[in-house]
């Protein structure tokens, strides 16, 4: 086992290309997950029993099955019914949908934590359904959720290597192709590991700060 710094310097540009895609996928996936999660959380509170029940089961199903198989499903099955997606788009949809079911739980907890009195006060002020949500409930519910949401986005970031299985050229895939070309696995794989470790150690600090900033609920 020998570490070759020259080789590291040689492969660095390729890996950085991969890092860009990894970050892009994470950011897009996070945005999608935030939206999908809110949609699921609201649908599960719907007055319509059938909508609430079926969305609940759908979310449960997605949460109980592996992301990798879901990615395969989006990437291989959808083209058969005429929806042809580029790998990155398929990957982002997979990430967003999978983590959307997790963020939905965060939203649910956040919304349930808004005291009943606020709902009643909104009704007393004669606010309609939409205004109650946008002006009263969500502004109080969202700040305490931020640390938990960030936690899932970091988890998503660590799952992006799975996108390499559906041919997205992110960090892991670049590392694999470099490794297969030169038949040197030590440097690329270790660098990928180090990259994820560094980012997630930094994110621990970020999370602490977010918890400090938003975690407390002032009443």
């Amino acid at each position: 086992m020998d570490w070759d710094w020259n080789f590291v310097r040689e492969i660095m540009p390729t890996l950085i290309q991969g890092v860009k895609i990894t970050i892009l996928a994470t950011v897009l996936g996070s945005v999608l997950a935030a939206i999908v999660g809110l949609g699921i959380a609201l649908a599960r509170r719907s007055e319509n029993r059938i909508v609430a029940r079926s969305v609940g089961w759908f979310a449960e199903f997605i949460r109980g099955t592996p992301l990798l198989v879901q990615l395969y499903f989006i990437f291989y099955v959808l083209p058969d019914i005429g929806i042809l997606l580029p790998p990155l788009v398929a990957g982002v949809i997979g990430l967003g949908l999978h983590y959307g079911t997790y963020t939905a739980e965060v939203y649910r907890a956040g919304i349930d934590n808004v005291p009943r009195g606020q709902w009643e006060a909104a009704k007393a002020c004669n606010l309609g359904g939409r205004h109650t949500w946008t002006h009263i409930i969500l502004p109080q519910a969202i700040p305490p959720m931020i640390p938990a949401l960030a936690n899932y986005f970091i988890a998503m970031f660590k799952e992006t290597p799975l996108l390499s299985a559906i041919t997205v050229l992110e960090l892991m895939n670049q590392a694999k192709s470099v490794a297969n070309t030169y038949y040197r696995y030590i440097e690329p794989m270790t660098l990928v590991g180090a990259f994820f470790l560094v980012i997630s150690l930094c994110s621990v600090v970020l999370l602490r700060w977010l918890e400090h900033r938003y975690g407390r609920i002032e009443r």
């Binding site: 099955t65 990798l68 058969d80 470790l197």
Partner: protein, 219 residues
């Protein structure tokens, strides 16, 4: 029709491999969780530091990277693992790190008075842990352990990428042999979901059994 039954057999074989991996990975994860989780509340700085390093390292890098590292890099260090060994090792160590935090949290959640009672009864640290603290903490850990086991089940799909013939791998085989995409992936998703339901049902049953006789003891 006979063909389909053949392919179904293939997928069921994959299911057996997935179950085997989940069981073996869970056992390793459970051992690591207790070692590292109790290590984190140790009196000795060295043990605490070791446990923290293990936990941060394995939580910080994704399971996929760890698996590839174990499978492709370790052979260069003279340690060749079969895909199954690499899979169990990576899954067990990764999920063990997450579960270790559960163990630590549960041990700390046991009230101070219980520790004081241990001292009052002249129990040693180990005796107190074994007879007083852990039996109460175990019940707190159980639901989260169930979630961790489901995460482990989902993570097993990644081993298909190092050519271990699990459910996901067999789905790919069926896809490439038949050209059909919906059947293999949908059936595999359903099997994963069924396994996840079995785990959560099992944990609930276990929880109920363990809570028996503790009524009124727990606050």
């Amino acid at each position: 029709m006979t063909q389909w039954s053949g392919y179904l057999g293939l997928i069921l074989q994959g299911a057996l491999v997935t179950i085997e991996l989940t069981l073996m990975g869970s056992v390793l994860a459970l051992i690591m969780a207790f070692l590292a989780g109790m290590g984190r509340v140790s009196r000795f700085f060295i043990i605490r530091a070791l446990a923290t390093t293990y936990i941060e390292f394995f939580r910080g890098t994704s399971i996929f990277v760890q698996l590839f590292w174990a499978y492709f890099v370790l052979p260069f260090a003279g340690l060749s693992l079969t895909p199954l060994q690499a899979g169990v090792l990576a899954l067990g160590l990764n999920v063990g790190a997450y579960a270790a935090e559960v163990v630590r949290g549960a041990i700390l959640s046991v009230g101070r008075e219980q520790y004081e009672a241990c001292t009052a009864l002249n129990l040693g640290r180990w005796q107190g842990m074994r007879h007083v603290i852990l039996p109460q903490a175990l019940l707190v850990m159980l639901p989260t352990f169930g979630n961790n086991a489901i995460e482990l089940l989902k993570a097993t799909s990644v081993v298909s990428l190092i050519s271990l013939a699990d459910l996901t791998f067999q789905a790919q085989v069926v896809r490439s042999q038949t050209g059909s995409t919906l059947m293999p992936f949908l059936s595999v998703l359903v099997i994963y979901f069924a396994l996840a339901l079995i785990i959560s049902w099992g944990i609930r049953t276990l929880e109920r059994r363990m809570a028996r006789g503790l009524d009124g003891v727990r606050v």
